[in-house]
């Protein structure tokens, strides 16, 4: 396996894009990516597009619009990890030496479904009993608060921090800060989770270029090395299990740290899958950013702030940025690329050299999540 580099990033700002399909949004992102990198469509040797609701052959419908038609192209579905799975497959293609340049993107338009809950998998045992995604996280939250002595105010703090980060991000769906009072007085969705503990459904797209070292040098692209790219599926069990410990995140992260030869202490920033506020606490612990049961203490002490020990979701996370399902895993890598190349403007984490991105999702009964992906990016030399 050879080293793989991120050679460029482009994002269609997340929010409401009514009247523009996932293919429209994806084509804008990929078109921008080719412009900012100066790479000709003919030099793109393969492409992967992640989407959950964008439909069959989305990757072809996007890439052919910007002049990439003919090479191997794949549309990838892995729920919330669709976009990150597309990056993983593009990484494999470059790492194996079979191609020198690949595009991975994610695109989604959720406005097409109207408001409210998204359509979920049918014939699922728990959905038949009335399960909805906020309820799954609400029960994890109840159990976490019960087990570790945290309070609902600790959940509020996650939203306040990430909304403050997102207020600086022109690509975020929500760009307004919120106060502790506003969060704690927002409408209950599934006790103890309130509306401002939940990420919004958004539309958007994001794209990255992955390439070999030689390709990056030929095109004068800043080098950000993909030190780890790992995807795992959920372990199926219907027995008793600890729902405050996201085993899928822990397993994916452990493999990623091993692949990178880096550990949690090396991280300057993490873009984490905070679909609900409780998720930041659970995943921060499973990623090893803090000891078990202490994420809420680290958060309260400011350790996860943009200028803290390890910045968690400096771009605003899903809570601010929004969650166009298939695009989320890609935008995390875009935001991290800009951080590591010093282009993050008001979001910049000072001196950032190592970033980790994490998505996990897919609500099917019997597993934590259907799929989880972790990427570690760095500007440090390979040692």
């Amino acid at each position: 396996m050879r080293n793989v580099y991120v050679g460029g990033a482009a994002v269609v700002p997340f929010g409401k894009h009514r009247g523009e399909s996932a293919a429209d949004l994806g084509a804008q992102a990929v078109g921008d990516l080719l412009r900012v990198t100066g790479v000709a469509p003919s030099q793109v040797e393969t492409g992967y597009g992640g989407t959950m609701y964008g439909g069959s052959l989305l990757a072809q419908r996007v890439l052919q619009r910007v002049g990439v038609s003919g090479p191997a192209v794949f549309t990838v579905e892995n729920a919330c990890a669709s976009g990150a799975s597309a990056i993983h497959l593009a990484w494999q293609a470059v790492a194996s030496g079979s191609v020198g340049c690949a595009i991975a993107f994610g695109a989604e338009n959720l406005s097409d479904f109207g408001g409210g809950a998204l359509p979920l998998a049918s014939h699922d045992l728990e959905i038949a009993q009335g399960m909805v995604m906020p309820a799954a996280y609400a029960m994890r939250a109840q159990r976490y608060l019960h087990g570790w002595g945290a309070t609902s105010q600790d959940l509020d703090r996650v939203s306040v921090k990430n909304r403050a980060n997102g207020s600086r991000n022109p690509r975020a769906h929500f760009q307004a800060e919120v106060t502790l009072e506003e969060v704690s007085e927002s409408r209950l969705v599934a006790d103890p989770l309130r509306l401002l503990h939940c990420c919004p459904n958004s539309d958007g797209a994001a794209a990255v270029l992955l390439c070999s070292e030689g390709f990056a040098e030929d095109h004068g692209l800043p080098l950000v090395r993909v030190a780890a790219s790992v995807v795992r599926s959920g372990r199926f069990s219907t027995g008793y299990r600890d729902m405050t410990w996201p085993d899928i995140t822990a397993r994916t992260a452990a493999r990623a740290y091993q692949q990178a030869g880096l550990g949690p202490d090396d991280l300057d920033l993490v873009e984490l899958h905070d679909a609900f506020s409780i998720a930041e606490l659970l995943h921060a612990e499973a990623l090893g950013l803090t000891t078990r049961g202490k994420a809420y203490v680290a958060l309260e002490n400011g350790e996860f702030d943009r200028d803290g020990r390890v910045a968690v979701s400096p771009s605003g996370g899903l809570l601010s940025r929004g969650h166009p399902v298939g695009a989320t895993g890609v935008v995390q890598v875009c935001e991290s690329y800009w951080q590591l190349t010093g282009q993050a403007d008001e979001l910049q984490v000072p001196g950032a050299e190592v970033a980790l991105t994490h998505v996990t999702g897919g609500g099917i009964f019997g597993v934590d999540n259907g799929a989880c992906a972790v990427h570690i990016l760095t500007t440090r030399d390979d040692e």
Partner: protein, 141 residues
């Protein structure tokens, strides 16, 4: 809601009917135990999903369980008529999601009984399945 009222609702379309048996007003879940690795499965499986073994036994659970976690769903799909309470229950080796007959989220550790009850409705009438009810409540009523 009393048990009598609960039972009065328990007619209508039964959801996931093959997954449990009724024992009077009470419900027992159909589960599988793997004879090789010991894992427990609900709903029942022919092949163990942990080790792949085909050497399994079909059993039914008791009629009581313990709450692992719970919430009140306040925004949900129309057919379930929010607000309603959901709980994860530990029942003889399996963790099961069920609606609860309660006004608030149940505290972890609460002992519950399993019964047939109403979980929602459609234009064609009530939807029924297994539900749980705190044990003290069922004793009082």
């Amino acid at each position: 809601m009393s048990i009598a009222e609960l039972d009065a609702y328990s007619t209508g379309t039964v959801v996931t009917e093959g997954n449990f048996v009724t024992d009077g007003p009470e419900v027992r879940l159909r589960v599988t135990r793997c004879l090789d690795c010991g894992e427990s499965w609900f709903p029942a499986l022919e092949q163990c999903a942990a080790c792949g073994s085909l050497r399994t036994s079909s059993e039914v659970t008791g009629t009581t369980g313990t709450v692992y976690a719970s919430t009140v769903v306040r925004i949900g799909l129309r057919q379930f008529e929010a607000p309603y309470v959901l709980a994860y229950l530990d029942v003889d080796g399996v963790r099961v999601l069920a609606q609860a007959v309660a006004a608030e989220a149940l505290v972890a550790g609460t002992e519950v009984g399993l019964r047939l009850g109403r979980i929602g409705s459609t234009t064609e009438g009530a939807l029924c399945s297994y539900v749980c009810i705190p044990v003290e409540r069922s004793e009082q009523s």
